[in-house]
Every structure is written in C-alpha cells, then in structure tokens.
Symmetry: C2
Subunit: 180 residues, 2 copies
DNA sequence: CGATGCATGTAAGCTGTTACATGATTGC
DNA sequence: GCAATCATGTAACAGCTTACATGCATCG
C-alpha cells in the first residue's frame, strides 16, 4: 500500500474529523485555513478523492433527498489505518527538515539587489509578515475558544513560526543598518 | 514575461553568484543545502535550465578543453533583471504566508492516534527535530566564518524557524502531560 | 586500470494548476 | 424570481519524481 501524499493525508484527516462530509466541504476547509498554502482547486481535490475511494480508504453515500448528486464521504477502517500511518511518517527525517520558505530562499540572493532596493524589499516583507502574523493570531484566538485542542496546537505552531520569521527579518534588517 | 517559479529563481540565483558554473554544480549546491527540500533531480534541473536558456535568461559556453560536453552557464542581463524581479515577489502575500510544514499538518489530526501513540509520536518528532536543529547550527557556524553574509542570513532563518518549531513541539508535549 | 566523481540527459508517470462548465438549493 | 452558495466535475497543461542511460576525467 503506497504512502499517502501530503494533500491526501490532509483530506483524509478532514473527512475523519467530520463523521461525514462532502467533497465541497473538504475544499472549503482547506481554503479557510490561513496556514495552508493549498489552493485546493477542484481539479486536485476531486481526482484525489476518487483515488482515495478506489483504494477503499473512503466510501461515498448518496443523499437520497438531494437531486444534485451530493455525496457524503466517510472514512473506512482501512482509511483510518492509513491516516494513522501517514501521521507517523511525520517523524521521518524528510517531513522534519523539508520546510521550504520562499522568503528564506530569496534571502540567499539578496546581494543581487542594489543597497537601497535591498532595504526597501526587507521593509516590504516585514510589513507583510506583520499583517500575516496578526491574521494568524486572530485565527488562533478563535481556535482557542472553540473546537478541539489539536486545531489549537496546529494554529499555535503557525503563529510561533511566523513570529520566528518576523524576528529573523527584523534582525537581518538591523544588521544591514549597522554595517551600511 | 512569465514569473519565475521557486526552483527557477533559486537556480538562476545560484548561477548568478558563481560567475560561471555547470548544471552539475547547480545540482550539487541544491543537494548540499540542508534547508532545502529540493531533491534537484537531474530530471527537473536539466529541463529547467533548458527553459531558462530558451528564455535567454542564461547563456551556455562550451569549454573547449573538455570532450564530455561540459557547458559553463552564465546569467544574462535579462536574466539578472528577472532574478531581481523574482526576489521582489517575495514581498507578495503568497510567499509570506505559504509555508507548509508536514509536521504541523499532521498536528491537526493527532486525535486519530490513541493516547499512548500520540505521546510516542511527539517524542519521536521532538528527537528528530533536535537532531535537525543541531545539523542546522553546524551549517550556520560554517557560514558565519566564510562566505557572504546573505548565505549566513539565510541559514540563520532556517535555524530560528527550527528553534521555534522545536519550542512549539515541546510546549504541546507538556500540555498533553498536564491534562493526561 | 579501476573506482569515484564529474557531467549530461531522457521517458514514463503522477500530481497539481488554471480555466472552463454545469446544475441544484436556499434565503431574501 | 434572482442571487449567493452548495455541489460536482473535466481538459489542457506544467512541473517534478523516479528510474534509466551514457560517457569523460582524475587520482591512486
């Protein structure tokens, strides 16, 4: 049995948490999460769910009162096992290290910008990052109140990482100022 | 002119820093970076560089003393402009927010694991993260000594984010212990 | 003269994206 | 009755991965 991909694991997890939900709902949930970079386009989600169904990790039941073909998805026992297995792969070397940050990637090549452009660029990124941090914190506050704790823990991770990134950018900015 | 993708920007940046380098060297550099999740397989790098050449962002010069067809790549003026433009897109909303972390993704679904498995999983991830942090710090120390400062700043970002992730995991672990 | 490293590439397959396309349901 | 939302999908295309495939250069 092949390993679940990142998006497959996430979708399966979403279906597992709602006892029963539609593909549409899965997409909504992906879209609403600020910590996710997945666009969760129809073109990826629907084929993906078909794949999960073929592998018998989920089953679909048609709602009989609905004429538009709404399908309620549920995780199977086999699917729950696959989900647990997918979670465990989070402790492998790759998931721990493979976290790519477009802002960090660009930092390596900042020399290519002129001095003034460099500072302007950093200021712009810092401002964006501050906005994003505020957004993340709002989200975190909402999670704290309601819902389950793992939702909260997840959002907490997003917030803490964003704080670290912001701190990093400010430090770089400060060092650029010192040694003109 | 279409925007450069993440990997395209990185490869172009690498070529820009060495005045002249081979495709092979680009791959090596990608592989050696611990902060990169890119495997930089031949199957992605070579077609990518062909693309950049077609767009006239780089030019290739054959070394005449080498019979195996070694090609020295150099960035063009047009390429340098494209690189600067790519860097500036780092201040857009997407690159700032779109940072996906496989460990964080899995946190949202930790409920699916039994209580004991949950703790075992977290301990395993924490151990891995500690190893990875040590690796990152070694790398950072090497960068501090030699090379240019933006290399150092980049590695610093990797280290600070890894520290934040570890702190997060330990905090989650602690909270799980409290409320059994 | 053999091993390791340098150097280049191709082919099949999977996953994801963008854009397109359709129709039912619900609330005002 | 109309707009917003719910709901499902397809088609063309781009990009990356894995695995395969080849051959030169250099050092011992």
């Amino acid at each position: 049995m092949r390993q679940l991909s990142e998006l497959e694991g996430i979708c399966l997890g979403i279906i597992a948490r709602h006892k029963s939900c539609t593909a549409y709902r899965v997409r909504q949930e992906l879209k609403d999460s600020p910590s996710s970079h997945w666009q969760a386009s129809a073109g990826s989600v629907y084929p993906l769910l078909t794949r999960l169904e073929t592998r018998q990790l989920i089953v679909a039941k048609a709602a009989r009162t609905d004429r538009r073909g709404t399908r309620q998805l549920q995780i199977t026992r086999k699917g729950a096992a696959a989900l647990r297995e997918w979670i465990r792969t989070g402790a492998d070397a790759d998931p721990v290290s493979s976290i790519s940050d477009p802002v960090r990637s660009r930092m390596f090549f900042l020399q290519s910008l002129g001095r003034a452009a460099r500072v302007r660029y950093l200021d712009a990124v810092i401002e964006r990052m501050q906005d994003y941090l505020a957004e993340t914190k709002t989200h975190l506050a909402r999670k704290r109140a309601a819902s389950d704790r793992y939702d909260y823990f997840g959002s907490l991770g997003a917030t803490m990482v964003t704080e670290a990134r912001l701190k990093w950018l400010k430090r770089v900015r400060a060092e650029l100022n010192i040694s003109t």
